[in-house]
């Protein structure tokens, strides 16, 4: 079947099997491997992308369902060579070690800050509670998101 959706602001379409999951559509069909593929059971959250601005687990969503929606992946966070403040925050506050959970963490953080510009640490922890960092760097991830909230308008050169 033919699916088409906006991915990072660009209309992308392909002929796919109906059973193709969004994570594999992004990685294998479109070559956007920034979206990671982890537990495959909607537990770990590394496959999180934004659908119409809200985080969803792309291992538990058909590409066919996502058709017609707007998808944002980690590749879409940087704009014109300027990192999203969330990305800059992860850089400033050492929000990653191995980096496997990072794309999902950053996209969930982006969606949180879009709804709540100044979240408490508790709200940050709740927002990322469906995502697992096994390094385990939750304290620095929370600090990174806080940094982004405090520097909302300070993009950095990539």
């Amino acid at each position: 079947m033919q699916v088409a959706m906006s991915v990072n602001g660009e209309e992308r379409g392909a002929e796919v099997e109906p059973r193709l999951l969004l994570v594999h559509y992004l990685r294998d069909v479109l070559g956007l491997t920034g979206t990671h593929w982890g537990c495959d059971t909607s537990n770990c959250g590394t496959c999180v992308v934004l659908m119409d601005g809200e985080p969803v687990k792309s291992c538990t969503l058909l590409a066919a369902t996502a058709a017609g929606h707007e998808i944002t992946t980690v590749e879409g966070m940087e704009r014109d060579g300027v990192l999203d403040p969330v990305q800059q925050g992860f850089h400033e506050e050492h929000g990653l070690q191995c980096g496997f959970c990072t794309p999902g963490m950053m996209l969930t953080a982006r969606a949180l800050l879009d709804r709540n510009a100044n979240p408490t640490d508790h709200e940050i922890r709740t927002a990322i509670s469906g995502q697992i960092c096994r390094c385990t760097g939750y304290a620095t991830i929370v600090r990174s998101i806080r940094w982004a909230a405090e520097h909302a308008n300070e993009g950095a050169r990539a």
């Binding site: 079947m1 999951l21 809200e54 985080p55 066919a64 369902t65």
Partner: protein, 291 residues
């Protein structure tokens, strides 16, 4: 890599369209709502429907929480997150808000729906217990019309509901009463895991006595509700002793099994404690509502 078996995909654009597709494609068709129960089952090949009817486009038509005719009416495609954020539910039927805080995780709650959860009828699923405690009724629609079922008729046990081939759940109706309060308590091993045990309670107070009560448990097998515990509460003034008595009845009547989440004995103990806590909070809320 977990991949579902191949299936034919259809996308319904309205409830009527979904019912027409169900009628045309027959019993090998399944509705896909939020997908967070059915897709994992399909990836594990525990379910292999021949046809999938995606009702994601019905999120608008069946996505609402509103007060009407003395009830809260909830569209079947209302997502967990919308239930959690509903001010109406938080104010009038707080058992939903309590449960939604601890159902899955925030990202899963962005997709999962109340209709999908009730139809999956997982034995550890929370909303079946919530709806049973809240005396909710479920609207099941087919091409020939609607049936409105209480939870006792709707929920037939693990993974089994009264929804027949060619039918779909469209709405959940939760009655509103003055002097009513409700609460939900759950123990889980970590965020996103199924309940070890969960308990919901709803009480209605009138002139200092419990006019009506309902208790429902999740993840402890068998019957979701505990009519015997509800009966013990009815007509008596609320007290800590009475709550403990009812909690004991509810725990004695459930059938937990020993598994990786704990022994049957532990779960029965937790069931009693959570029922007690739910009754306390439900009653406190009812008293606030009354005054």
């Amino acid at each position: 890599m977990q991949v579902p078996s191949p299936f034919e995909y259809e996308r319904a654009t309205s409830v009527e369209h979904a019912l027409e597709l169900l009628a045309r494609l027959g019993p090998d068709a399944r509705l896909l709502a939020g997908g967070h129960s059915l897709l994992p089952m399909m990836k594990l090949r525990l379910a292999s429907p021949e046809y999938l009817i995606d009702i994601d486009p019905l999120a608008g038509e069946l996505g609402y929480v509103r007060e009407q005719d003395g009830e809260v009416r909830i569209g079947a495609m209302t997502r967990h997150r919308e239930l959690l954020e509903s001010e109406l539910l938080a104010r009038r039927v707080a058992i939903f808000t309590d449960a939604e805080r601890v159902i899955a995780d925030p990202v899963v709650r962005n997709r999962g729906t109340i209709g999908g959860a009730l139809c999956q009828a997982d034995p550890a699923e929370d909303l079946s217990a919530v709806c049973a405690a809240a005396d909710a009724r479920v609207v099941v629609r087919g091409r020939d019309g609607e049936r409105v079922l209480d939870m006792r008729a709707f929920h037939r046990g693990a993974y089994e509901t009264a929804v027949e081939d060619g039918e779909m759940v469209t709405e959940i109706r939760v009655p509103l009463h003055p002097g009513a309060g409700s609460a939900y308590e759950k123990v889980e091993r970590r965020v996103g895991d199924w309940a070890v045990v969960a308990a919901g309670a709803a009480v209605r107070l009138s002139d200092g006595t419990i006019e009506h009560a309902a208790i429902a448990l999740a993840a402890v097998g068998g019957d979701v509700t505990s009519p015997a515990a509800a009966e013990a509460l009815a007509g008596r003034p609320p007290s800590e002793e009475l709550f403990a008595e009812a909690a004991g009845i509810a725990a004695a009547g459930c059938s937990p099994v020993t598994d990786q989440r704990g022994s049957a004995e532990y779960k029965r103990h937790v069931a009693a404690e959570l029922t007690l806590r739910a009754l306390r909070r439900a009653t406190a809320r009812a008293l606030r509502e009354e005054s």
